[in-house]
Symmetry: C2
Subunit: 720 residues, 2 copies
């Protein structure tokens, strides 16, 4: 949380501190005994009743002679206001008790646990990838479907190549090599951001597509649920949101079950299907005759290839999570990756083979996998098991994105490319803000596309393969720079994987450009623009708030020089510039206290008393619509004793805020070196619905004064 | 604007002032020479270029030896920020230049001008009143329509009675006797509010019904516009809003034309119709056979009577506007009222007679008046003239409500029954807030009812006759109390008018209860509840902010007593009470300055320098997630020189705002007599879209500290 100061800043800090020693005023005044005990330890005296709120802070004496501090007990997190308390309690019921930072635990996974947990995303893709491919080929009619085996074979080859590529990444990045890290490490800032954009699209769409596809698995079995697709999906996203805000740990066994169940179900389906097919001599069941709605063209085949490639989304998960393996981490991760790719190819190829043998054709009411399960298992227990396992693994895949998306945002925020709020761990140690953004984005995409898988596929393919390409390209540069043992082989594999990924990305981008890929490409461009601007802004702020040693020169100067400075400041201000807000010592702060007073009532009098008690020059302001009203106020002022200078501002058009602000700014322009403290009496009402009865001049003045330089705004509340 | 202080308050003010003379500190400190010239006169020196903004304030020296003041020139009203300037310019283009308070002019109207201007509302009611009556009777089929003459005759009698009643009101209230004034003067607060509720319903519905009816006049002539009824009505309301915010004066001739045109058109229509009827021996054209959808019952006839009574809405306008007549005001107003009632009866009776003779039946696509005009004039110029005049007078009637509604709100606000914003004259000298509220309410009603007249009639009748009843009842009490010459006669007339109005109100309320009148009755009840609560709130605030002479006792007390007081205050705070925020002299304010610091950067350092420069005890606070982070911050603090006391607050759950607020409150509870000044460094970004990149801790702390007593919040801005 606390930024580390570099050597230069430390040196400046020391020098600024030495200036404080030298200030001419009485430093004793602001170091004198405090009227309260900040450690809250000695008060109230023993035997007295401690008010409830004090129980919330525990005075602690750290070891090693460090000074005492107070620690906020759990109850000190509870807001005092009623709506605040209600919000707090709702959060506690939904999310559970807050967790201390020390509760972060690093679990290690055995290969047999890591395999199902980390491959859920990849393996579940088999539930929609083949179907997405067939849905394009079927546009070419029965003839189109004949291209299914060669396209599937190409995809299998792609899986192999990308799998081998990621084996190289695991070896090179044993601490986890996400696409953003690999690309920005090796290719630079912008390629890193391109990879991050691809990744984030990927994660959002993983959630949307997995949920859409999971619900399709359920509605295939229970068609009466079809009209409720969108609300069911919304509910699933809400559950994922709440579950991940709670910071659900990856409970091994629980998360392993759906993956193994899915693997078993698909293998059984293929085995039974093959047995049946063997019975009829492997003659494919003829497909019903399909009329082509499009001619068979290279474009159609390429589109089918790009869509079918979504069957390998999630293949990168293991390379992100290398440190989660038991030692030797990278070796175990590589072995697991190999198993996973093997399983993925087997499931994918098996599914495609069954589609060919059973003559299944995609339709809009039942998923291909469900049709295959019907052919193999009928409608009995095994069918229900298959559909349930499919839905479960897809839900698990969606959950995977909830781990990865906030982490990418965290990395971006760490590099100043994303708002700082994504750095923050919530009170359940989850990156709450990233989780909320992912849920919102996925929900918008899901609802906008009506909970359908098909129209999301083009966007999905573009995002995923963009990230793959950047990651593999980064690895190529990595090997080239490193040139250690085996670098040629590794470079060759990564180059192959990268090239193939690039081909899929370009194919998807071009062939599906009008079908939605343009949205993804536009989003990537916008993302890079915005993230670069964010970094620029943070850099500018960091430069502005850095201490600079200007204060060192001041005390040596004579009074004459100071006056000269003032004149220079005036000249600068007249030229439109304003004095920098750079006072670093109390001596540099010159005060004028300005008090706008509407009436000499208790609220106004209290603001005047507060202003006078600051022992600085005070100027009271009163806005009147005309001179007669001003004179009425002056009469009260004289009756009171005329203790402070008063300036009447006549506002013939009856406005209050803008003339006051402009007047205060003109005071600032007279003496840009003086810090103006504007003291605003403000009536604070007990209930929000009383606010409409008061004029909020104080709040409006505060807002209007905010952009002005060197104007400090002090609100003196008056509670009624 | 400035409340007048009573004798008691003046006495207290003098005594508080004398305490300021006695304060033990150096009053010279806060009365010493100001670093700026508040009159802006001597700066910049002659010959120097005056920055643009200074030109916006004119130093003025009032006559009679009064002290100088500055007057905001027109440009001083222009906000400095870009959105502010854009808003200002848009307002100026739409509304025109701002007007000084001295620009208020009181026009006097001759009777021939007053008649059309003030009777537009009443006479235009003929465009929808008869139709509303017929629309109910037609439910009883052809037989139902036969009840039209007797019901109409009763309404004519009602018009006469109410007219005579208002003649009495004009004599008794020559300065204008709106229902609210008459009822609250004579019957008390709640009946006055009842009348105001009725009036305000009346005015909102006048706008909605007049516009709906005016557009019906247009769509009767041009049926192709029917689908656009709602958008056209919205546009008309927008024009009325803008026109009235501009403060359009009642330009006699312009506003007289539509009324005279309407009178001429209807008289011509009746004359031509009678001539035609005479040609066929006054035999009524037979109506087409109508099937009854309801049996003819007393209830049906009563409902028709209540609906038809809306033909006399607006009859009270002249009694509100007596001071606008040329002298002798009340006599001229009475004469004009008599003419108006005569015209109203003539137009109403003529219309009903023509309906009978022409056998016209209300239908949903064409207004009754348009049907009559077709019969009399065919489709030529005279027909178009009739429809145009009808639309114009209805628009004028809607505009009348824009004069009256804000005035009722002003009177309510003056009596503390409505929010203070309704007291305020906008920069065009119009009661802008009331105008905006009326437009919004009318637009909501208009759109909710789809721009149809018919369903609005029950609500309308309830509101209007409620106001009439309260007003007449007030007059009865008035005469009874006064008992001057002729009081018996006046009392009799008002009693008759009141009784009849009450009968219509009750009839409308009961017979149309389920048709919408319950909304109006509920709204009235809610209105009275809310306005009474508002008065209660303002009374409580006024009591709270009144000066009270507690300060007088303090200086005579010994230090020992002061300490005793502190202990008492502590005890009180432990018992859950908090010290009153009632300091009236600087001496009573005891300071502790608290500075939450996140980092020792320039923004934080500036806040610390500002805090120390106030020459009061300072306590710096730093929130850390754990002790190690706290120690890192302390190391920087020591490097800087440890100039101020620092307290580290450990927040193991990583929250910042709530623990800080609770800690500050626990400081307050230790010493409820000390005023805590919390100084918040705040980064102010240049563009609103940069705000998402910063964490707004300062704004959130400010909001959370607002409800706490005796905590002053100071924002030290740092502009990046």
């Amino acid at each position: 949380m606390l930024p580390t100061l570099d050597e230069e800043q430390l040196r400046v800090l020391r020098r600024v501190g030495r200036e404080w020693d030298r200030v001419s005023g009485d430093p004793g005044l602001w170091r004198r005994a405090l009227p309260v005990d900040p450690d809250l330890g000695s008060y109230p005296a023993p035997g007295e009743i401690r008010p409830a709120r004090f129980g919330r802070f525990v005075p602690i004496t750290p070891p090693g002679g460090r000074p005492p501090a107070v620690e906020a007990a759990g109850e000190a997190e509870i807001p005092a206001s009623l709506p605040g308390r209600v919000g707090y309690n709702v959060r506690r019921v939904v999310l559970g008790a807050p967790l201390k930072s020390t509760a972060i635990a690093h679990e290690r996974m055995r290969k047999l646990v890591a395999l199902p947990v980390l491959s859920a995303d990849a393996l579940s893709s088999v539930a929609y990838g083949p179907e997405a491919m067939l849905a394009i080929l079927v546009l070419g009619g029965t003839a189109g479907l004949r291209y299914s085996p060669p396209v599937a074979a190409t995809i299998v080859f792609l899986m192999l190549a990308v799998g081998v590529s990621y084996r190289q990444t695991i070896r090179a990045y044993p601490h986890g090599g996400g696409s953003y890290i690999v690309a920005s490490d090796n290719l630079g800032r912008v390629p890193g951001l391109v990879a991050a954009a691809g990744l984030m699209t990927d994660y959002i769409l993983t959630v949307a597509v997995s949920i859409a596809s999971g619900i399709a698995a359920i509605t295939s079995a229970v068609p009466s649920l079809v009209p409720d697709t969108v609300p069911i999906g919304g509910a699933v996203i809400a559950v994922l949101l709440a579950g991940n805000l709670r910071g659900v740990r990856q409970a091994g066994a629980l998360f392993a079950a759906p993956t193994y169940a899915f693997i078993i179900a698909v293998f059984a389906l293929v085995a039974v299907g093959l047995y049946d097919a063997a019975g009829r001599g492997f003659h494919p069941t003829p497909t019903p005759h399909l009329t082509a709605t499009e001619g068979i063209s290279v474009l159609l085949v390429l589109r089918a290839f790009a869509s079918g490639s979504t069957a390998m989304t999630g293949i990168e998960a293991i390379s992100n999570a290398v440190p989660a393996f038991t030692p030797v981490e990278w070796r175990n991760a590589r072995t697991t990756l190999t198993w996973m790719v093997g399983l993925l190819i087997a499931l994918f190829a098996g599914t495609i083979a069954m589609v060919q043998l059973d003559g299944v054709v995609p339709n809009t009411t039942e998923t291909v996998l469900s049709q295959l399960a019907h052919r193999s298992f009928g409608t009995g227990l095994m069918y229900v098991f298959t559909q349930a396992a499919t839905a479960a693994i897809l839900l698990l895949a969606a959950n995977t994105a909830y781990n990865d998306f906030p982490r990418v945002l965290f990395l971006l925020a760490r590099d100043h490319h994303a708002p700082r709020i994504f750095l923050r761990l919530g009170d359940r140690l989850a990156f709450s803000n990233g989780i909320i953004v992912l849920s919102a984005a996925a929900a918008v995409v899901y609802v906008a596309f009506g909970g359908k898988t098909e129209p999301l596929i083009p966007l999905f393919a573009v995002g995923v393969f963009l990230a793959f390409t950047m990651s593999q390209a980064g690895m190529v540069v990595h090997w080239w720079r490193l040139r250690d043992r085996h670098w040629r082989k590794s470079l060759f594999f990564n180059a192959t994987g990268g090239l193939l990924s690039a081909i899929v990305f370009i194919t998807a981008g071009i062939t599906k450009f009008t079908a939605g890929a343009w949205v993804a490409i536009l989003a990537v461009a916008l993302f890079i623009l915005v993230t670069m601007r964010i970094r620029h802004h943070y850099a500018r702020v960091a430069k502005a708030v850095a201490l600079h040693p200007h204060a060192i020169e001041v005390p040596q100067q004579t009074l004459a020089l100071r006056i000269g400075e003032q004149q220079a400041a005036r000249a600068a201000s007249q030229a439109g510039e304003s004095e920098a807000e750079a006072e670093e010592t109390p001596e540099e702060v010159q005060h004028l206290v300005v008090v706008p007073v509407a009436a000499l009532d208790l609220a106004g009098m209290r603001a005047l008393a507060y202003a006078a008690s600051l022992q600085q020059p005070v100027l009271a302001l009163h806005v009147s619509p005309d001179e007669d009203e001003a004179e009425r106020f002056r009469a009260y002022w004289r009756l009171w004793g005329d203790h402070l200078p008063l300036e009447a501002i006549l506002s013939p058009y009856r406005a209050i805020v803008v003339p006051l602000v402009n007047y205060i700014e003109s005071l600032h322009r007279q003496r840009p070196d003086v810090t103006l403290t504007v003291i605003l009496p403000e009536i604070v009402v007990r209930h929000w619905w009383h606010r409409v009865l008061h004029n909020h001049i104080a709040a409006r003045l505060r807002r209007a004064l905010r952009p002005l330089p060197k104007i400090v705004v002090t609100t003196v509340p008056f509670h009624v």
